[in-house]
Symmetry: C2
Subunit: 117 residues, 2 copies
């Protein structure tokens, strides 16, 4: 295989990766929605341990576990931010909907969870 | 869908993500191998621009482009390290094979590109 052919393959893998990451983000958003309804916290260290264990168990190389973990730390950071956004947006909607005297969420995070339609 | 069902779905998506990342890493390693043979540099800013453009063009949300870019910055960092490793390992093999008086690669990176078989 030439460098050019390998790059075509990588671009194709990247498109698949973006689709999987988007699907994972939608699931994280739905969890954020359910957490908003049940007052569960966004940060759940035990759940994150399970995620990392699952990732390491699936890994057959060539990336060392530590490098894959580095990638996953970033993925989880981003998903957590999305979930916080979802929660803030839900709370804001509830408070506004109930015409409550409470102030909006103090997080400074707006309701713009989605950038694209 | 309950939180538990969504988590089962996420664990499944993570396994698919690890497989795609591993396949991407194998392709990056092969490119590293070809670069070693042709003395091409590991860091190619124009190629990286194409990767980011491809990622943004594929993105249909819910992650904002900027968050997806954050994840990709980490992916590319890790792949670049893997490619540097591949290059250092190839150069080391060439130098050792040629019984040259040249010292080994000054990168401090060993030939352990693969942690797992």
């Amino acid at each position: 295989m030439t460098i050019e052919e390998l790059r075509v393959r990588i671009d194709d893998l990247d498109r698949q990766l973006v689709e999987l990451l988007s699907e994972r983000a939608r699931a994280a958003q739905m969890i954020g929605h359910l957490k908003a309804a049940t007052s569960l916290p966004v940060y759940e260290p035990n759940r994150e341990k399970i995620i990392y264990a699952n990732v390491r168990a699936t890994n057959k190389g060539p990336l060392p576990d530590i490098e894959l973990t580095h990638i996953y730390e970033r993925i989880i950071d981003v998903m957590r931010a999305l979930q916080r956004n979802e929660l803030a947006s839900e709370r804001h909607a509830r408070e506004t909907g109930a015409a409550s005297a409470e102030p909006g969420p103090a997080t400074g995070i707006g309701p713009e969870t989605e950038k694209k339609p």
